[in-house]
């Protein structure tokens, strides 16, 4: 495609969805939990980019983009079978070992702050090969040296069965990859700097060549990607995340997506 005019303005959500969709890679099945509009956008983008209906995308909040028929258990069974390749997790706190905290701050028995709870993290983090951590608030409050409560650990010692775990952490400022128990700063998003990332990150991390100057800038979504996002992905997203789709893409859902029982 030949683009000579100025590239269209890229929204932060579009950049993050593009980054995540590239992390997803060539897999069979991506599942996205509740209240995760940007990962959902990324998963649908990954599928539309391939154009062959693959990967399967399961948006757990959606009836339409979700094939499960065996009750609330099926997602976890499916992951246990090794049939979910990519999942997304977040945390009230995330530390440099990849541990995530979805429970509380302070002493567990007398906490200062309580989060909703661990959801399925203490299982999915172990059995899904590619878990992408996602947190838009990149601060020393969220990215800490050591979480107060480990909902799910980034790694396990010994012979604990663990085919899965974190592969990356995507924030509003940058992209970290994760390997061997540590994060590496892979790229910094346009408009942000390595110094800023260091300043706002509570844990130690590695850098390619260990020099700030060698950290690349996160690539912008291509015009073709933006077109896909805005024209093909956004209308599908609107069914599940109407507010998000309206706000980011100016797209409205048709109906409420609930197919009525006709018996």
């Amino acid at each position: 495609m030949c683009m000579t005019s100025a590239p269209p303005k890229v929204r932060d959500e579009e950049l993050l969805a593009d980054v995540i969709s590239r992390l997803i890679g060539d897999v069979r099945h991506v599942a996205v939990g509740n209240a995760s509009p940007i990962p959902a956008t990324a998963a649908l983008l990954a599928r539309e980019r391939n154009g062959n209906g693959r990967p399967y995308v399961s948006l757990l909040q959606s009836r339409k983009h979700n094939f499960f028929t065996d009750g609330a258990r099926e997602l976890f069974d499916c992951a246990g079978q090794g049939r979910i390749d990519v999942f997304f997790l977040s945390g009230g706190q995330i530390d440099g070992h990849g541990n995530i905290n979805l429970v509380s701050i302070g002493d567990y028995d007398h906490p200062k702050v309580r989060f909703p709870g661990s959801f399925g993290s203490a299982h999915l983090y172990y059995v899904v090969p590619k878990v992408i951590l996602f947190r838009t608030e990149h601060s020393r409050r969220t990215l800490v040296p050591q979480v107060d409560f480990i909902s799910a650990p980034g790694a396990n010692a010994g012979n604990v069965y663990r085919p899965g775990g974190p592969i990356a952490l995507v924030t509003n400022r940058c992209l970290f990859s994760f390997a061997k128990g540590r994060f590496t700063l892979d790229s910094v998003h346009p408009g942000h700097t390595v110094e800023e990332v260091i300043e706002h990150t509570g844990f130690d991390f590695d850098m390619p060549g260990s020099l700030p100057a060698t950290v690349p800038e996160t690539a912008l979504p291509s015009p073709a990607t933006l077109k896909l996002l805005r024209e093909t992905v956004a209308p599908q997203l609107a069914e599940v995340y109407p507010q998000f789709a309206a706000q980011v893409f100016g797209v409205k859902a048709f109906g409420d997506g609930e197919k009525a029982l006709t018996v």
Binding site: D70, G117, S118, E258, V263
Partner: protein, 272 residues
């Protein structure tokens, strides 16, 4: 055979103070009309198992002082923010919290469904959830390479409380894809269902409907409660009432606002 259909209050009579009740997650048909009736009646000291998470239902019951122990993987109002009465109760230590992870609760109920004392589950090792659950055990798996694995004890609730689209006069309840409702009923001593409407016929007579039916054999009482999941949604039937949930999130942010919410929407003081 006398009808299995009862008034909502009569249908709920098996839920007595101190009993263990299992309820489904926020999107699987939550018996909210029944929840309001229980609060009105003033039920106390419930051990609530929310399979595997909850939203408004747990928050309301906690705020109204009905819960002694809460066993679940998360309580949240989703896009409407944290569950305020849940958070307040944890911070002030007024309920006993048994933190879990979603598949652990499914597994513990499956153990009860199978009549076995425990079931194993992958994951959990190295998590602080496990550290705080002295009722969970770790063994070295006798299969494979002696790797450690968690064993979860069966959860056998006194009552499973569910809401679904329809039931027939034989007590058969159509649950559709919400198959965890069947596991809940199998695992529990008694099952109470509220439904949108009565199905005129026998759900088991039609092979297609039968595939999504919980047999009346497992069901002890049924009450009709139209829009009984409101303000939450009922799959294949109606969506959640977003405006109401936003209103709840706002009012429940303070104890005073929560009391007003109860007055307005639970204690039938609307006219006052």
């Amino acid at each position: 055979m006398s009808s299995i259909f009862q008034s909502l209050d009569d249908a709920l009579s098996a839920i007595i103070d101190g009993c263990m009740v299992v309820v489904p997650r926020e999107v699987s048909g939550v018996p909210m009309a029944a929840t309001r009736a229980l609060i009105k009646r003033g039920v106390k000291r419930l051990h609530l198992v929310a399979l595997p998470t909850s939203s408004l239902q747990a928050d309301l019951l906690i705020g109204a002082g009905c819960i002694e122990t809460l066993e679940t993987s998360a309580v949240s109002l989703g896009e409407f923010g944290p569950a305020p009465r849940f958070s307040a109760a944890i911070l002030s230590g007024t309920i006993k919290m048994k933190d879990a992870t979603c598949p652990a609760l499914h597994t513990a109920l499956q153990a009860a469904e199978k009549g076995v004392p425990f079931m194993p589950l992958r994951g959990l090792i190295g998590s602080d959830i496990l550290k705080h659950r002295s009722d969970w055990k770790v063994i070295d798996s006798p299969f494979g390479n002696d790797d450690p694995i968690v064993l979860l004890p069966a959860i056998k609730p006194d009552v499973a409380l569910i809401h679904a689209a329809m039931a027939d006069r034989f007590g058969n309840v159509w649950i559709g894809r919400q198959r965890e409702l069947a596991t809940m009923a199998h695992a529990s001593n008694k099952t109470i269902a509220t439904v949108e409407r009565i199905y005129d016929g026998n759900l088991l007579d039609d092979p297609v409907l039968a595939a999504g039916t919980l047999p009346g054999f497992y069901v002890d009482s049924v009450a009709v409660a139209e829009r009984g999941a409101w303000p939450l949604g009922l799959p294949d039937y109606y969506s959640a009432d977003a405006d109401h949930l936003a209103e709840y999130a706002k009012m429940a942010a303070t104890p005073e606002g929560f009391a007003q919410y109860l007055d307005k929407y639970v204690y039938d003081k609307r006219a006052a």
